[in-house]
């Protein structure tokens, strides 16, 4: 019961600090709010100074922040923090947790990278999928069967922004050329276990962001249909449009039911179940925003009207943490095993 109350309070404070109406808040301010409200600490274990709440808590916050297309990189930071907290053999674990909780931004990459570890241990290659990495002192990446902290500046290190269609976020590539001195936080079996542990949360956070956004985009669309008149009546009165909105609502509510069911069992669920759930949630976001622009008509094509921002974020989310096609096929193969 105590946990439930804390969860509801957190969600409430998230929606107050980041109302859906305050679309794409200033990034620096948003990041400050995220750290000040303690959102990074929610699922950090209590003995490491966190609140020790279940995974739903972080997902519930991401859901609220997704409604307003939050510019602060909550998921990337939470995932790196979770990895460090889970790296029990890492000597400087406590120090890094303190730094991150205190506001130092360290992201985990959400797209696959191609880093080669040389015989001398030096790293070469490009890491993609680093959100807002220009704010970061270090990034956390997986390379050579280990998780490593790598600084964002120094000899052989180039950070390059890759301009996005998504106007609510900024994405960077980190190019490494013979970079030595990265800090290994976990390797071998520990790194493999850590991968699954982080993957579970990654899917939940991306899915939650997507469904928060899908809700907001659908609300905006229905609001518009109620106000916009053609043929002397609101568009919302036309059955053809009502039915499309109803279908979108069904998709959103059903995806939400699955995400919260999976969030509840996330600690023990196979990663593929969470990947499948993320696939459904991101595809729902895609469907809702794709339809939302069409339902807005001409105004949906204008830069000024906000609905396009949701579509762009949805399309990017679809590519994070493994594609929809990847997870569908993986789900099919896993089910073939289950039902053998």
């Amino acid at each position: 019961m105590g946990v439930l109350i804390e969860l509801a309070e957190l969600q409430d404070s998230a929606s107050k600090a980041f109302p859906a109406s305050g679309l794409m808040p200033d990034r620096a301010q948003a990041w400050q709010t995220v750290t000040e409200l303690g959102f990074l600490m929610v699922d950090l274990p209590e003995d490491l100074g966190g609140l020790g709440l279940p995974r739903e808590a972080a997902a519930a916050i991401a859901f609220e922040l997704g409604k307003g297309l939050c510019t602060a990189p909550l998921a990337s930071a939470l995932l790196a923090l979770r990895a460090i907290a889970g790296a029990e053999g890492f000597a400087k674990r406590a120090e890094w947790i303190e730094r991150i909780v205190g506001g130092e931004y360290v992201p985990l990459n959400l797209l696959p990278g191609g880093i080669v570890v040389g015989a001398d241990g030096a790293l070469t290659g490009t890491v993609s999928g680093l959100f807002e990495a220009d704010m970061a002192s270090h990034v956390l990446i997986g390379a050579g069967g280990a998780y490593r902290l790598v600084p964002t500046a120094g000899p052989g290190i180039t950070l390059t922004e890759r301009p996005l269609w998504d106007s609510s976020r900024r994405l960077f590539d980190l190019e490494l050329t013979g970079v030595s001195g990265s800090v290994v936080i976990a390797d071998g079996a520990a790194a493999a276990a850590l991968h699954d542990e982080i993957a579970r949360s990654a899917h939940l956070l991306v899915a939650a962001d997507s469904l928060g956004g899908a809700n907001a985009a659908l609300d905006l669309t229905i609001e518009y249909l109620k106000v916009r008149k053609q043929f002397d009546r609101p568009l919302a009165m036309f059955q053809a449009l009502k039915h499309r909105c109803a279908d979108l609502k069904i998709a959103v509510v059903t995806s939400e039911a699955l995400i919260w069911a999976r969030a509840h069992d996330a600690d023990t669920a196979p990663v593929v179940d969470l990947g499948a759930m993320k696939g459904l949630a991101t595809d729902t976001y895609r469907l809702v925003t794709e339809e939302a622009i069409q339902l807005h008509g001409g105004i949906g094509l204008t830069e000024e009207y906000p609905i396009h921002h949701y579509m762009k974020r949805a399309m990017l989310n679809l590519q994070l943490c493994g594609s929809l096609d990847h997870w569908r096929a993986a789900t099919g193969r896993a089910a073939l095993e289950t039902y053998s």
């Binding site: 609101p234 009502k242 069911a261 089910a335």
Partner: protein
């Protein structure tokens, strides 16, 4: 004991009982009347064990169960692959709920015990001219002394050919709004003037029937509620099913994913990435249907159901069922186009063409998918209704 411990103990008790008593061989019954007999036997067994009417009030043996307890029983019935309770469904849910909510003491005393003894009811609501627009019924009842004389036609009445009694909606007045002239009667299916014709369906089943009424005499004492107030009674009838059926059916469909897996292996599609993606998509769609059915029931238990929620659950299930059977038809190849005998009591039989055709029952019956969309749009999304008499 805590609530959870009570539920766990009930679950263990039901599971143990089912291990010894769950019917076998019911999937192999090929004659519809034999299936009806097997349904009677299974219902009687459940009544005796105290699991048939968990939703009835506590003074009834086996009644007084909370929605959470009912959920446990349904989950276990689905898990043990028992046949669904089709023949007794209208009796134990629709008829019972009508009596509990609107019946006289005399009607309750007469009919409720008989339901437990196996008397079966059917529903005489829809008509050829009144489907989605149910209030447009035209079957006419004229008052003559202490009786009504009824003439008209009913349709889509599930298993009416086996029913003893009928919940009948009739028109007693044509004045005022169409809902106002409707009256709710209880009809004896063996009364003179009642004839039943099973409807041959596209998959060869005869689950529905037409009922023809030719000067059928029904005593006034067999009326539920006042004359002209039958529409409100009908709402009580239809609200009796509390979301348990869709939870049961979703979980059955999840269990039946093994049939798709079998098909994939039979046709050696394991290495086909496209097939794996389609199967994976279906698995997630079915999982989501289970999750929404479960959440809906939990919300009902918690008293936080919203208008339109039930429509979302129904459409989610029925779309998943269509997708499930359509994938089976596709993956089954030409084999599925050779006609195979149908069986009864299950929507996921692995006779893919029959299952596919059966899936329409869920997108059409009990309020079509399109009517559900209207409900979601108007009651949940608060989009405005069309003006009356709007010709476009």
């Amino acid at each position: 004991m805590t609530d959870q411990a009570l539920l766990d103990s009930l679950r263990a008790q039901v599971r143990t009982w089912l291990a010894a008593n769950a019917p076998e061989g019911w999937r192999d019954i090929a004659v519809h009347s034999e299936f009806a007999d097997s349904q009677r036997q299974w219902f009687a067994k459940l009544v005796k064990a105290g699991y048939a009417i968990p939703h009835w009030p506590a003074e009834w043996q086996g009644g007084g169960r909370s929605l959470a307890e009912q959920k446990v029983i349904y989950e276990e019935l689905a898990r043990a692959d028992c046949p669904r309770l089709l023949l007794s469904f209208v009796s134990s849910y629709h008829a019972a709920s009508t009596f509990f909510e609107c019946g006289t003491e005399e009607q309750k005393a007469r009919y409720l015990p008989r339901i437990l003894d196996g008397e079966t009811w059917c529903q005489g609501f829809s008509e050829p001219g009144a489907g989605s627009d149910l209030a447009a019924i035209r079957t006419k009842a004229e008052r003559r002394g202490d009786s009504y004389v009824v003439n008209g036609q009913k349709i889509w009445s599930t298993m009416a050919q086996y029913a003893d009694k009928c919940l009948l909606l009739v028109r007693t007045s044509s004045d005022g709004p169409k809902q106002a002239g409707i009256t709710f009667l209880l009809m004896d299916m063996n009364a003179p003037g009642v004839s039943v014709r099973p409807i041959s369906q596209i998959q060869g089943d005869e689950e529905f029937a037409e009922i023809f009424l030719d000067n059928v005499v029904i005593p006034v004492s067999e009326r539920v509620g006042e004359e002209g107030k039958g529409w409100a009674v009908a709402q009580a009838t239809l609200s009796s099913e509390r979301g348990l059926t869709l939870l049961e059916l979703s979980n059955r469909m999840k269990g039946a994913l093994c049939r798709v897996a079998e098909l994939i292996r039979k046709h050696s599609h394991e290495g086909d990435a496209g097939v794996m993606r389609d199967f994976g998509q279906l698995v997630t769609q079915v999982d989501a249907a289970c999750a929404i059915a479960d959440r809906f029931l939990e919300n009902r238990i918690a008293g936080i159901e919203r208008p339109g929620d039930a429509s979302i659950v129904k459409n989610t299930y029925s779309r998943a069922l269509r997708a499930y059977s359509a994938l089976g038809v596709r993956l089954g190849g030409i084999d599925e186009q050779y006609r195979a005998p149908i069986t009864f009591g299950d929507l996921n039989t692995g006779n893919w063409m029959a299952d596919f055709m059966n899936s329409y029952a869920w997108t059409i019956a009990g309020g079509t998918e399109e009517v559900q969309r209207n409900i979601i749009a108007e009651r949940m999304l608060e989009m405005p209704r069309e003006p009356k008499g709007w010709v476009f």
